[in-house]
């Protein structure tokens, strides 16, 4: 039984197949990368995993249990957290309040939620801005807030959707460090990323898709050398 498994996922929007038969398995403690050109179906796959879309067909299994019919909030309670490609800060709440709201998923006590929130904020390095309104944060801060919030729900599996996009080089280094730290802390990670440097560096294994279908899977170096992958990304440099 795989720790986390996506089995023949298909998603049709009207007549268009956004995802057309994607399957992969993720082992516990792995950092598993998902790459593909724009529009290849990566975020749709995430949306199916986290319950925002129902698959047209196929299954998602977490620790042996089928989760693709469950509502999003239940999936969160089961231990799967996610960040969004287009960040969704709770704008008119402070960073601290954002994370407290997330921490409430594991407790009903304000005191405990706040305690947990502060711990996670510290872990993710947002202490200096904890009382700033989320909408006042620059993009790097917002991306980090996405991760921090998700971490406050104590996920066993974390889905990261393009958390590195829009960051400058030094911010990128910090982001990579944080992701590694999260894995070291015991969370399995599936990461969608466009910036090759990031995903090639931190992933244990990578799965490449194009037009909603798998085109390659393997270690970073194997995938980087794969002909189909190179063709799909013709012209893309490393960031």
């Amino acid at each position: 039984m795989a720790y986390f498994q996506v089995d023949s996922l298909v998603k049709y929007f009207g007549g268009l197949a956004a995802v057309n038969g994607v399957s992969f398995e993720v082992g516990q403690g792995e950092i598993f990368g998902l790459i593909g050109p724009n529009g290849s179906g990566k975020t749709t796959t995430f949306n199916m995993i986290s319950g925002y879309h129902r698959p047209t067909s196929g299954r998602v299994l977490f620790q042996g249990r089928e989760i693709h019919q469950l509502p999003t909030h239940k999936i969160c309670h089961l231990g799967i957290g996610r960040t969004f490609q287009v960040v969704k800060p709770l704008g008119r709440m402070t960073v601290l309040d954002n994370v407290i709201a997330a921490a409430y998923s594991r407790t009903s006590s304000h005191h405990k939620a706040k305690e947990e929130a502060l711990k996670v904020i510290d872990f993710c390095g947002l202490m200096p801005v904890k009382d700033v309104l989320a909408k006042a944060l620059p993009i790097a801060g917002r991306k980090r807030l996405e991760i921090t919030r998700a971490m406050a729900t104590r996920p066993e599996l974390l889905l990261l959707d393009e958390t590195a996009a829009g960051l400058n080089p030094s911010e990128l280094v910090e982001a990579i460090d944080l992701i590694r730290k999260i894995r070291a802390n015991g969370t399995t990670i599936v990461i969608i990323e466009h910036i090759m440097h990031v995903i090639m560096t931190i992933s244990d294994r990578i799965h490449a898709i194009n037009f909603g279908q798998t085109i390659a899977e393997g270690t970073p170096s194997e995938v980087a050398a794969n002909q189909a992958v190179i063709e799909a990304y013709l012209g893309t440099d490393y960031a």
């Binding site: 319950g51 909030h73 969160c76 969004f84 309040d97 709201a101 409430y104 919030r149 729900t153």
Partner: protein
Amino acid sequence: MKKSLTPLVFVALLAGLPLIMKDNYYLHLMILFLMWVVIGSAWNLIAGYTGQVSFGDAAFFGCGAYTAGLLATHLGVSTWWGLALGGFTAIAVGLPFGWICFRMRGAYFALATLALNEVLRHGATIAEDFTGGMVGILIMPSFMSKIPYYYIALALAVASLASLQWVVRSKPGYYFVSIREDQDAAESLGVNTHLYKMLSLAYAAFWTGMAGALYMNYMGFIDPNVVFSLHDISIMAILVGIVGGVGTVYGPAVGAFVMVAVQELFRSGFFGLFKWLGAVSGSASLVKVAEVLTQAHVLGFGLLVVVVILVLPNGIVGDWPKIRKRVFRLGAGA
């Protein structure tokens, strides 16, 4: 847990008011004000905090009022039972109401609540055998003096504000605001958004229903066009919230005071000021102005809505920094 003493001071002042203010006219206005504090705060939770802007709160008000009234006409019991039960019947109506309306978001949700409000209004009119239809319900008020009603209204207002204060700082409070800010994000954080939207609606329905029951007891007469009124109840509730400031605990209380005062101001021609001025100065045109103001009070109200939305979109409490700056500048420049 620092709590400002200002609210307590206000409550004390309000409690002592009937001792110094004996005029029934002003007592009446205060009772209306307190009632609107309850309704406005309830709307504030579902709209200001949870972000679901309901245009149909009259549905709950009417439910509470009719519960009280129908208990009297059909079961022969005191309408005061309506105060205990009105909130719950409103919730009972609110649940299917919410189930229907929450399938939509934003402006469509608003429209759906408006439509349901109207369905209830027409329904109450048509179901003559049950509700008395257009004839309405008339009961004998329990008290001759306004003072007991005043204290009951005050108790209701204080209770509703205290409960709002408590909710806002609790887990549901956080969840409500997260739904407002980004419903999808909230879901990903484990918030059962459907459940919490219903909870916020139930809360709003409860308190608004209680206010309706109080209204039945106090005014002694209701009919579908009064208690299910779109403009006089639903829209007024929104105005109270918006003028005072949504998303703040005390905003609607401020809004309630302002709206009741302004409404009365127009209706009475600035409390008879113009008429008095006209009589004193002998100026016929001033008396005419007074007449015009009285006749056009709804017009004035409408204009007020337009102006407030343009100028103070976040309400008095919400835009307080903006107001202070303006007033400061006026003072400094003068």
